[in-house]
């Protein structure tokens, strides 16, 4: 009997498919993974510390830099937390605009997920198609706030500016094209045998385990746990919209992919409803120039494309927060990596990493 031993493979921080600067220490037996330990912190900027020396309004641009492919969600989470603290009413129009923006951003984010999954599996063409259509959404944001990635659009008390008149027709055109776009993806990727066999029954995590390791968002729902904060908390005005929460069965890579693809459809439904109901009126509440929230602490969570995004703010009654903490879904979802990767091959680690979809800007905060 020949003697075998395991070896460690240092994957990242400079590796094509670690989605940024994640370092994975893989202990391998041949090509099989025995252990996968993530090391992060390469992108740590100390945003929580910086928040302590910024005013409440000044911190909004920093939230853009957390989950930088879904910045609208970050803006929304932070602003709603502060609004909860100072208890202000938001104008109806602003609420609807917020919903439209965050849901558009969810589509953009999931398109990016699909693209990166495709390229991690070697389907380069799938990536380009995803990026092509994400571009349309980014152009819509560009129209609204002049930025394509870091929006700083949702503000405490409303939104930064009203939408330009060409925004609604452009969005409706995108929504009209969206079923065709999705069908193209399904033809190119979902219907592909190789993709199916690469993803199906790999990286399985059942609902109980998923809850145990703290998975949230599409990853948790792919394991069959019905937990969508848009439904359970109905923050903002989400209770006014009719949408389903797509659930998976096995919690494998395939389910995580399909759940996100279906979520895009649901998001487009929400946007269509929000556009139909969009009222006229002011887009910003009367908010004092200098914000001095009462002393106290508040926790608020929203459903971001990557999971439960929570903000915990402690106010001491001054213009600057005493402590700001961000509960980052990507960071906590990474805990599942070791659990999921055990016994898989190197190629599957890449697939798992793509379907867990951590974003290093958010992981490292």
């Amino acid at each position: 009997m020949p003697k075998t031993q395991t070896y460690t493979l240092n994957m990242g921080p400079q590796h094509p498919s670690t989605h940024g600067v994640l370092q994975l220490e893989l202990e391998l037996d041949g090509e099989q993974v025995v252990k996968a330990i993530p090391y992060m912190g390469y992108l740590h900027r100390g945003i929580e510390k910086l928040a302590e020396s910024r005013t409440y309004t000044q911190f909004i641009p920093y939230t853009d830099r957390l989950d930088y492919v879904a910045s609208m969600g970050n803006n929304l989470g932070y602003c709603q937390t502060v609004e909860k603290l100072i208890e202000i009413e938001i104008p109806e129009r602003a609420e609807y605009l917020r919903i439209i923006m965050t849901e558009l951003n969810r589509i953009a984010s999931h398109l990016l997920f699909m693209s990166s999954l495709a390229i991690d599996l070697g389907a380069t063409t799938g990536m380009i198609y995803g990026f092509r259509d994400r571009e349309t959404v980014l152009d819509l944001f560009d129209m609204v706030c002049g930025a394509r990635l870091t929006y700083n659009y949702i503000r405490i008390g409303g939104v930064a500016d009203d939408i330009p008149p060409e925004f609604i027709p452009a969005t409706q055109k995108f929504l009209g094209d969206f079923p065709k776009i999705l069908e193209e993806y399904h033809n190119l990727l979902t219907g592909n045998e190789i993709l199916y066999y690469r993803l199906k029954n790999t990286g399985i995590i059942n609902g109980k385990q998923a809850l145990e390791v703290g998975l949230t968002g599409p990853c948790l729902r792919a394991s069959g746990v019905d937990y969508d904060i848009r439904k359970v908390e109905s923050y903002g005005i989400y209770d006014r919209f009719d949408f389903a929460v797509p659930l998976g069965e096995n919690g494998d890579n395939w389910d995580r992919y399909i759940v996100r693809m279906e979520e895009m459809v649901e998001s487009s439904k929400i946007i269509a409803q929000a556009i139909a109901q969009l009222p006229e009126g002011p887009f910003m509440a009367k908010v004092p120039k200098v914000l001095k929230p009462p002393a106290g602490d508040v926790y608020h969570r929203i459903e971001n494309p990557r999971g439960e995004l929570g903000f915990y703010i402690v106010s001491d009654g001054t213009t600057k927060p005493y402590r700001t903490h961000v509960r980052r879904p990507s960071f906590i979802n990474l805990q599942a990596l070791d659990e999921v990767c055990k016994g898989l091959l190197i190629a599957d680690v890449v697939a798992v990493l793509a379907t867990l979809d951590p974003l290093m800007g958010e992981v490292d905060c």
Binding site: G41, G214, S234, D239, G296, Y299, R301, Y312
Partner: protein, 168 residues
């Protein structure tokens, strides 16, 4: 159905079960249960496993430096009963240590490591308490109030962070 804050009956039932260990602070959405150190893990275990509470999800875990003491904040959520609760626990500034809840909620792992890393709180009973975001040889805990941001220090720290962090 939108989720609710843990009802006051349930809280008083819990308080009756553990007299003198649980006190209520704050009100409205800021309402929280402050738990004494001695029965901390027992109460947390009850909150997770008792049919009346079923807090299966540890949504958020963080800590705040109040100069004279540290306050660890837990935000729990029950998937079945759809209610939330905020738990707080305190430890003195000169003895920054608290029980780890990793044995109850495994998902506390990274969050406790993060608090350990950035605030320097010892989590007793944590299986793998190492720095998570900062380099191993980083001095100080940035989220403590005594840690001031200054330009020169920042430059030195940036240089430190540029070094490779971990080589197996």
């Amino acid at each position: 159905m939108s989720s609710q804050i843990l009802s006051s009956e349930a809280i008083s039932k819990l308080q009756a079960q553990f007299p003198n260990s649980i006190s209520m602070i704050g009100e409205g959405c800021q309402q929280a249960l402050l738990i004494e150190d001695s029965k901390f893990l027992t109460i947390m275990g009850v909150l997770k496993n008792d049919a009346a509470y079923q807090f299966t999800m540890l949504s958020n875990l963080t800590a705040v430096d109040y100069l004279d003491h540290f306050e660890v904040v837990y935000h729990l959520y029950s998937l079945n009963l759809k209610h939330t609760v905020t738990i707080k626990a305190r430890c003195p500034a000169d003895k920054p240590a608290i029980w780890s809840v990793m044995s109850i909620w495994a998902s506390a792992n990274f969050q406790e490591r993060e608090v350990y890393d950035l605030l320097g709180l010892e989590f007793v009973g944590h299986a793998d308490l190492r720095r998570i975001l900062l380099p191993e040889d980083f001095e100080g805990h940035p989220l403590r109030k005594e840690y001031k941001l200054s330009a020169q220090d920042e430059r030195r720290r940036v240089e430190l962070c540029l070094k490779p962090r971990h080589t197996p």
